[in-house]
């Protein structure tokens, strides 16, 4: 790039940064507060990083895999019906961007029901024994 070209490119780059609504940055800054450092992340399988991911809109059955357990979720019209595998007792929370919106007990066979079905993004937060697992964010 000659001097004029690089100066023009630089001007364009700075303009495109100036065009971004401040809200987009604010939302980004506040997202950091949602870091869960104390919980293991359970990824939706197949892992989106692999690329073979069902479109969220088409998903009715979800599997989130953590190291030692998986959380399987069936989405019905009115609730999330799930099972923790291997089966173990615990407490599971439904969280959206505003915080905890529902809590359910996980019974001896790992079953739980959470409702109503959230609109927009949500994640599950499970405490079972010593394990604390949080699923990745998902939108149905």
């Amino acid at each position: 790039m000659n001097d004029d070209e690089i100066l023009a490119a630089l001007a364009a780059a700075r303009h495109s940064a100036a065009d971004v609504p401040e809200r987009i940055r604010e939302i980004g800054r506040s997202a950091f507060a949602w870091r869960t450092v104390d919980a293991e992340l359970a990824a939706l399988t197949p892992d989106p990083a692999v690329g073979a991911r069902a479109e969220p809109a088409a998903v009715r059955a979800l599997t989130f895999a953590a190291r030692d357990l998986t959380i399987e979720v069936e989405v019905t019209d009115d609730a999330l019906h799930g099972q923790v595998v291997p089966p173990q007792r615990g407490e599971i929370e439904l969280r959206d961007r505003s915080g905890v919106v529902a809590v359910a007990q996980v019974d001896d066979v790992g079953w739980f029901v959470l409702g109503p079905v959230p609109r927009g993004m949500f994640r599950l937060h499970l405490r079972a024994g010593d394990a604390v697992v949080v699923t990745e964010w998902i939108t149905i």
Binding site: L10, A13, A17, R29
Partner: protein, 189 residues
Amino acid sequence: MRDDPTVVGLVELARHGDAGAWNDLVDRYAPLVWAICRRYGLGGADAEDVAACVWLRLVERLDTIREPAALPGWLATTVRRECLALLRSRRRQVLVGDESGLDTVDDPAFEELLVTQEQHIALRAAFDNLPEHCRRLLTLLFDDPPAPYAEISSSTGTPVGAIGPTRRRCLDKLRSDPVLAAVAGAEQP
């Protein structure tokens, strides 16, 4: 694209809970997020929803990012997926079926947008690393048409005859930025 040492450092700091480093990452990539939203015709609250999804996914992935150089590509893919998900759900509400024309997997225009955005990210970062007198001078030259040299001279204290050479030196410094050179082909032939 080579690993940008700045990004590697910022990701590392953010992993350890440094909110300032996280904010720098947000500032760095917000224009990329916004540009892709605009490309899909999303603005206002829709773009904010998409951005929220994307930033939250980035937060949750912080610990697993192996190659910070892959960040722009990962972000672009994620923003695009969220845009399409939002458009699809909207379509389902207004008309059923026809999803043709929404997007194709290999979209040269999208690739081009990503290349441009990566260049912009590198340009802004290289600019931020310039000495202050360079940043001040170049900012005055951005205006279209550029500010007259007499005006630049009086506001920066640089003699008129030195503005041309200073501009050249500053742009050479910018061009020598390794990250920029890697993405922009900005090296002197």
